[in-house]
């Protein structure tokens, strides 16, 4: 495009469009990625004002070092039993994902999303919070439900939209909801849960409760207006809320540069709003636990919100509808230097003499069996597309508390039409 430029002596402007470092065919090489050593980050007192530790929004809180030792001030010093529980929940989440992904491929449901490689982000956070704290997750935190002991069969019933589905087949698979488990109904629209979490937290504070809220979204979703509205409300009212940004570096085909990662970190978003920001190794379950525990303590002592960026990597496709080989280097998942959260915690426990390969293999086998058994049980209630699992008039229920005349009429009409048609 040519422009009649009155100031033609100035150099022409140019538009910067971000580009990821590796595309299909490229060899992924993260050797120049600066990974701060484990144990190096300072752990401020939870009463310290947020503007005293800006460096934590640019660094990386890490507990597990390369040899698998837990080091530094952020080590949450959990006992071996608690660590084994963490390991088990992560492994169960992975086993569940494997099985349900396969179920979708077998045509038993329409859709599935795995959280492979990101299990620590939900599992360790759920363990660091109180069981009755309220979670406003995105679609990739099934680990919270699993950690809190929500029945696998119920999750699968939802995935199959079958007769046992607690949501009556109304929602896309994996869009769970369980108030009892402190797990807010998942929306298909990104980042809407962020301000909702703030509202819940504000209400809890206004009522003199002791419970806090936490919310999760992907790094890509931080671009949505809801994210920024949430941070503004949270800082204004010092809401007792934990914001988790799961930076798995990809948003479908768009790398994190399209959410602003070329210029700064996601944790640094907190600084502009005057709230506490931490950047954490998201594949280090102990670091995620410690950061969440710290943020929860701040929230519970009226120090206000914390934003935690979990630096991790989306090891697999976005969903069953996605093939990442079309847009990123096939070698990326393996080249990613921060490893796998399950393997890292496992190595740590083995190093402590509290775990071994045989027990791990036995656990994996047992969890696979557990998931298989749950699946059998769930499939007794039907799978998607094989018959109508809910009476069709249930479609009209639950739009409002009481059904208005027009829905009643539409329901009656539908019944009459189907009868006339002989179905």
């Amino acid at each position: 495009m040519t422009v009649d430029a009155p100031r033609a002596n100035l150099p022409p402007l140019s538009l910067h469009v971000p580009e990821p470092r590796f595309r299909p065919g490229d060899e992924a090489d993260f050797s120049d990625l600066v990974v701060p050593p484990a144990g190096a980050a300072r752990r401020p007192d939870t009463a310290e004002p947020a503007d005293r530790f800006h460096e934590l929004a640019y660094g990386l809180v890490r507990v597990l070092d390369d040899a698998g030792n837990a080091v530094g001030p952020w080590d949450p010093r959990l006992d071996a039993e608690a660590k084994r529980k963490m390991l088990r929940s992560m492994a169960l989440t992975r086993a569940f994902d494997e099985r349900m992904f396969r179920a979708q491929r077998q045509g038993k449901t329409s859709f599935y999303m795995k959280s492979t490689g990101e299990e620590a982000v939900s599992v360790a956070a759920a363990l660091a919070m109180a069981g009755d704290d309220m979670c406003f997750p995105s679609y990739r935190q099934q680990g919270i439900l699993i950690t809190r002991g929500y029945p696998l069969v119920e999750m699968m019933n939802q995935i199959y939209s079958n007769r046992g589905d607690p949501l009556q087949g109304r929602q896309l698979p994996i869009m769970y909801s369980s108030k009892e488990t402190g797990f807010f109904s998942i929306s298909g629209n990104l980042a809407t849960q962020y301000p909702q979490a703030v509202g819940w937290a504000m209400a809890s504070a206004a009522r003199g409760d002791t419970r806090i809220a936490a919310t999760w979204c992907g790094e890509g979703s931080t671009a949505e207006g809801d994210f920024h509205s949430a941070l503004t409300f949270a800082t204004v009212y010092r809401a007792p809320v934990i914001f988790n940004v799961v930076n798995n570096q990809w948003a479908i085909s768009s790398f994190s540069g399209f959410a602003g990662a070329e210029a700064t970190t996601f944790a640094a978003r907190a600084i502009g709003y005057g709230i506490a920001g931490l950047r954490v190794d998201g594949n280090d379950a102990l670091a995620v636990y410690a950061a969440t525990q710290w943020a929860a303590e701040r929230a519970r002592t009226n120090q206000g919100p914390t934003l935690i960026e979990h630096f991790t990597y989306r090891a697999e496709g976005h969903s069953t509808s996605d093939d990442p080989s079309a847009y990123r280097s096939a070698g990326e998942p393996n080249a990613w230097p921060l490893g796998d959260p399950i393997r890292r915690l496992k190595d740590h426990l083995i190093g402590l003499g509290e775990w071994d390969e045989e027990r791990h293999a036995a656990m994996d086998l047992e969890l696979a069996e557990t998931v298989k058994r749950a699946q059998k049980e769930a499939e007794k209630n039907g799978i998607l597309g094989h018959g109508m699992h809910q009476p069709f008039e249930t479609m009209f229920e639950g739009v409002f508390e009481e059904m208005p005349w027009h829905l009643k009429e539409q329901s009656d009409q539908m019944i009459a039409e189907r009868k006339a048609a002989g179905i």
């Binding site: 469009v17 009556q168 298909g188 629209n189 979703s221 948003a251 085909s253 069709f392 539409q410």
Partner: protein, 340 residues
């Protein structure tokens, strides 16, 4: 001249953008995943490789940002074609569309305009659940200042999209995703068809326009006029064929501005009118159509106007095929309408 190549709807839409980017270097395409990857439905595939990153680019995931930025680019003089990945995700962009794009020409007295074409896949039939299935056209037809276009074939999709991009007003271009790969007769339990056997899959590779504001008569008939658009054109046509009813099927193609003359002439001829859309019923576009027909054709009507629409519920996942206004519902409504 050799026959035009066969295209499915995605290829035709892709071709429209390709042709327009070639002809006019002010045309840019943008949206979530549209650049390198070429869109989650592949509608923009190849455009970045051909025209470069400053003309076909990925955007941050913020729909209000995408539309606001498109308006700003339009104010500079570009002709942006933003994509909203699913019509269900257009709601976060509502303020920029309704208060800004649709109002800019009027409030600045033509000083600024918003020559943007917002493309978005819409509609159900793919087991997409609540947030990958909705038909929000009625929200936008209700807003003065924005045109709404919905194609039903590859040929129309390309010609209408070219006309939309060339239009100096904001156009919402809704793409019925269920028929991206082939026409759909409403029988979800039968094997899916592709476009190859359909005459409107012959799509010229070059430039041509299908004018906005002009309906198409898909089938001429005497017994009843059926007004429809998008996926429902095919569901209606197949159902009529099965029933052997001599219906006149009008594919509206553009909802705003509406081809009122075509509607009026047809209803006055047949004396009966049925409206079919996937969108929910209350305040849906069918309500507007019904009012217009009643106002203009009242003395020609031999029966009350019938509407077959989505029910007034959120789009269900497992009960998709009970919800979808398919052949059974169209047939039952038609039997009643013809008896009256």
């Amino acid at each position: 001249m050799s026959a035009a190549p066969r295209m499915n709807m995605i290829q035709a839409i892709n071709s429209a953008m390709d042709v327009m980017m070639e002809r006019d270097d002010q045309v840019v395409v943008m949206g979530e995943d549209v650049g390198y990857f070429g869109g989650v439905f592949r509608a923009t595939a190849g455009l970045q490789a051909k025209y470069g990153k400053t003309r076909a680019f990925d955007t941050p995931i913020t729909e209000i940002g995408i539309i606001g930025v498109a308006i700003g680019m339009g104010a500079y003089g570009l002709r942006p074609v933003p994509e909203i990945q699913f019509a269900d995700y257009i709601y976060p962009a509502l303020d920029q569309l309704v208060s800004e794009a649709a109002r800019l020409r009027y409030r600045s007295n033509g000083d600024f305009t918003a020559p943007i074409t917002v493309r978005s896949p819409y509609g159900g039939g793919i087991f997409g659940g609540q947030t990958h299935s909705q038909s929000p056209e009625g929200i936008f037809t209700h807003v003065s200042g924005i045109k709404t276009v919905i194609p039903s074939t590859p040929y129309d999709a390309k010609g209408l999209l070219i006309a939309a991009i060339e239009d100096n007003d904001p156009v919402l271009f809704l793409e019925p995703k269920r028929i991206y790969n082939g026409p759909f007769d409403g029988h979800y339990d039968r094997p899916a068809k592709n476009w190859t056997a359909h005459p409107a899959s012959e799509v010229p590779t070059g430039y041509y326009r299908v004018e906005l504001g002009k309906a198409a008569t898909v089938r001429e008939g005497e017994a009843v006029t059926i007004l429809c658009y998008g996926t429902m054109v095919h569901v209606v046509a197949a159902t009529i064929e099965e029933l052997g009813v001599d219906a006149e099927i009008i594919d509206l193609r553009t909802l705003v501005p509406l081809d009122i003359e075509a509607i009026e002439a047809s209803v006055k001829k047949t004396g009966r009118c049925m409206i079919v859309h996937e969108a929910t019923r209350t305040s849906g576009f069918g309500a507007e159509l019904s009012a217009l027909v009643q106002e203009r054709c009242f003395y020609h009507l031999e029966a009350p106007i019938a509407r077959v629409t989505g029910f007034d519920t959120p789009y269900p996942h497992s009960l998709e095929w009970a919800y979808f206004p398919g052949p059974v519902r169209i047939r039952e409504a038609l039997n009643k309408l013809l008896k009256d």
